[in-house]
């Protein structure tokens, strides 16, 4: 296999082997990127260096990582965790050479990048993987710009540090103006071996949760509600499968105790390129006292929208502009969604300035809405952006489209079910509601009874905070899609799972059972895909190789994304033009969900005569 790789590389590389080594220094002071000195003795450095130019080499190797008094095995790329920033320019060719110095297979997936499928880096789907000691060359001419990231797609290596950021600068002027930029790559460190984490999840439900309900908790739950959850054999505290203290949350490889500082000068427009490169953690990101203007989502420019906080799902990216006016220090607080811990950095005008970080807020609880009983609990969920939706609707009506983007319509829709009949015989798993395409079995412990589109929902725990929070319906692409095609067909895919057994799947079938029966698309089809989440967890669903447009009521300005959060017990819908032929991975980006089987291959036909 190694031979095959090399042969192919040579053949495909003719003409682009003018190998310039592209290691360049960062255009910002070292302390701003949080480079710590004094690490040695086998410890990997905390990211990140920057690589650019016509040839970029990545060396994947093992090491030890330490933060906050804990240390553990790690996988470092070019000696750092996170690995180096790969900085490219739209339209300028480069050769990415990946050297695997581990004693197991490895890979690099270029998350969000448009490229031929065989270079997408998913072993078993797009290529055979990189054997120990082997090299894999990826010729790439970026046909996009924006903030992205890369990570291993082999085993559970991503958890161990095998990830890093990508920035592609636009060929022309950047529509986003900024004076300074910082990468804010959020991730986790754990001294626990990822396989051990997987095992604990499989054999012991709620193992990592230290915020369970108990006889002495102070959750605002009535005895009746507690009984209801018990009857359903579910936990309202099932927010994150793995959390602190198992995880130490990191910004650019720095734990809270590492005191990462990001520099600014008063009055500068500072662009924060926020990347959620974690394995399992959604983060609530805010800089108290400093509003953020979101200008990009998943690498795609969006109309600026100012918020005070945003929730970022695993594998998503958001670029925000902050403009601190005077000298000082601002806390960049990225609180895990279950509020068990926080990734921290300080945005400061003077090295050494301390910022005071907000305390962790009370952990949120799941509600009936998260069980797919939409419409029962309007007060707290989903109604806060009704206006945006209505606008979208009107828009379409005026255009007279036959098929309106109706998905985010009915927050208050249907299903009168004797609301709040907590003790009654509510069926949490009415499998007759499922289409025939779903295989019913022990792997499905819940069926959303009345799944609503919740793209207007800011994320668990952020629907009742006293400030502005981003939600998907606020995202509008900058570029107008003049030629927006209506979907030629619609597909419904159910996200299914069993918390107790830690089984996760699409349509009730794990990848191991269905790999040979991929989701097939014609070439250049226009497909509407509705994802229905029949579980009580939020799943960040990622499609490789193609951007989809989120059906969020924004008409010709539907934002393009590579990853969409499908909120618990709800649905989310996207349109995709399947114009990238080949086999692509499609999966939940919660690492252990993917590993448990929540993955599929999307096979796009090649155009005729190719």
């Amino acid at each position: 296999m190694q031979k095959t790789n090399m042969k192919f590389s040579r053949r495909s590389m003719i003409g682009s082997l003018a190998a310039l080594s592209g290691v360049a220094a960062l255009p910002m002071p070292g302390w701003a990127m949080g480079k710590m000195t004094g690490h040695g003795g086998g410890l990997v450095r905390k990211g990140m260096d920057e690589l650019s130019g016509a040839k970029i080499d990545l060396h994947i190797a093992g090491g030890r990582f330490a933060t906050g008094g804990r240390s553990g095995d790690a996988i470092a790329v070019n000696g750092t965790v996170p690995g180096p920033l790969i900085r490219l320019k739209e339209g300028e060719p480069t050769l990415l050479s990946v050297h695997n110095m581990l004693d197991v297979d490895s890979s690099v997936h270029w998350h969000g990048l448009l490229l031929p499928f065989q270079f997408d880096g998913v072993p078993g789907i797009s290529f055979p993987g990189i054997r120990p000691g082997a090299r894999f060359d990826v010729p790439l001419t970026p046909r996009q710009s924006g903030t992205y990231w890369w990570h291993s797609h082999s085993g559970l290596q991503e958890q161990a540090g095998h990830y890093g950021p990508i920035i592609i600068d636009p060929a022309g002027p950047d529509p986003v103006s900024y004076d300074r930029e910082h990468i804010v790559l959020l991730s986790e460190f754990t001294p626990m071996h990822p396989h051990n984490i997987m095992k604990k999840l499989k054999v012991s439900e709620g193992y990592f949760n230290r915020q369970k309900t108990s006889a002495t908790d102070d959750y605002p739950l009535s005895a009746e509600e507690r009984l209801m959850w018990g009857r359903m054999r579910m936990m309202p505290t099932d927010i994150a499968d793995v959390s602190a203290p198992t995880y130490t949350y990191l910004v650019n490889g720095h734990g809270p105790e590492d005191g990462l500082e990001l520099a600014y000068r008063p009055g500068e427009r500072v662009r924060l390129r926020i990347i959620n490169g974690s394995a399992m953690t959604f983060f609530n990101v805010r800089l108290p006292g400093l509003p953020m203007t979101v200008v990009q989502a998943d690498g795609q420019n969006v109309r600026p929208v100012e918020v005070d906080e945003l929730q970022i799902g695993v594998a998503e990216t958001y670029d925000v502009i902050v403009t601190p006016k005077s000298d000082g220090a601002f806390a960049l607080a990225a609180e895990s969604m279950d509020r068990s811990g926080m990734a921290q950095a300080v945005l400061t005008s003077q090295p050494g300035h301390k910022a005071s970080f907000p305390a962790l807020r009370d952990p949120p609880l799941l509600t009936m809405v998260d069980m797919g009983h939409g419409g029962m609990d309007h007060g707290s969920h989903g109604t806060n952006t009704a206006t945006a939706v209505d606008d979208g609707q009107m828009d379409h009506a005026a255009m007279g489209h036959a098929m309106p983007d109706a998905a985010p319509a009915d927050a208050a829709g249907g299903h009168d079910m004797g609301a709040m009949d907590m003790s009654g015989g509510m069926n949490m798993r009415d499998t007759s509601l499922l289409p025939d395409s779903v295989k019913v079995g022990p792997g499905i412990d819940m069926v959303a009874m009345n799944p609503q589109d919740r793209t207007g929902y800011p994320g668990l725990g952020l629907d009742d905070v006293p400030h502005r929070v981003l939600n998907y319906r606020m995202l509008q692409s900058i570029d107008m899609d003049h030629h927006k095609r209506e979907p030629e067909r619609e597909m419904v895919l159910h996200l299914t799972g069993n918390m107790e057994r830690y089984m996760w799947s699409f349509d009730g079938r794990k990848f191991s059972a269905v790999g040979d029966d991929p989701i097939r698309f014609g070439h250049d089809e226009r497909v509407r895909v509705k994802l229905v989440n029949d579980t009580m967890m939020a799943h960040p669903i990622h499609l490789h190789g193609m951007f989809f447009e989120l059906v969020n009521g924004q008409g010709h300005h539907q934002p393009k994304k590579h990853t969409v959060i499908v909120q618990p017990g709800s649905s989310a819908t996207f349109d995709v033009t399947t114009d990238e032929p080949g086999d692509w991975a499609f999966h939940c980006h919660l690492l252990y969900h993917m590993h448990a089987g929540m993955m599929q291959t999307v096979s796009v036909a090649f155009p005729e005569g190719v």
């Binding site: 078993g124 789907i125 986003v176 109309r303 097939r520 070439h523 250049d524 993917m594 090649f606």
Partner: protein, 326 residues
Amino acid sequence: MGRILAALLAGSTAASPLMAQNHDQMDHSQMDHSGHQMPAEEAEAEVDHSQKDHGDEEAKPVDHKQMDHGAMGHDSPAPAPSAAIRNAGTGPPNAADAIWGTEAMRASREAVYAEHGDMRMFWFQGDRLEYRARGGEDGYLWDVQGYYGDDINKFWFKSEGEGSFGEPVEDAEVQALYSRAIAPFFDLQAGVRQDLTGPKRTHAVIGIQGVAPYMFEVDAAAFLSTKGDLTARIEAEYDQRITQRLILQPRAEMNLSAQDIPELGIGSGIDNLELGLRLRYEIVPEFGPYIGVEQEWKLGGSRDFARAAGEDASVTNYVVGVRFWF
């Protein structure tokens, strides 16, 4: 700034029907956001060039076709491109085979399938390993189980036994079971049980194990011995968290028999009943020492057998033990 943005947003949504009908009059102000440095002229150029959206894919002929459709106007949605071929194939995805070779892909494909959903786990639990203080000779008890297998199919083993110190083991058994997930919360289990004490009987076992509503852990099984005796056992326990580490566990066990089995001292009907309460402190989730009390009654015919043998039909055990798993 927030106000400006809000105004822009409001303006843009109101204007969108117009935009849809006439692109030439696209409102430039919408492209000239405070957050973007592109001058208005360039924004216009970008907007007016419908190719921009598709420019990335210019290499592909089909996209040009798309653009033509676009130019025809929007009122009717663009028809499906006639060139689109449905991927009518069946079988495994194979695009990568053409590039990397079928053989190289086969191995990695099998590996990636197995890795994503077919992992097998080993689990061993000492549910109760305890010292039992009681009237007369103090005793001990073990109750362990474990499995190896995937989500659906497992090999499951169980062993329990008890005795008094200074005497031979009173009761001991092992079970080897095939366990299959039949419902979200329950496994069906079937196999054999071998008694290691007394007449050392062998039994066929069929049972269910899982989590009942209200989070009761339940294990119920019927046993048919090689002598034709039919017995059954039902166990249920519940973990009431007091704090994240301190757990109060009520537990109940009932043994039943379809017939008298005098050589084992078992009478037909309810053979015995055990009710226990254990207070456990989980130092880590895998390891929790506990103290507790358990009351055991022999009932009906079994009580009579016990009395005839000069044994107590009712015993109170004060227990100290440990629960662990790995």
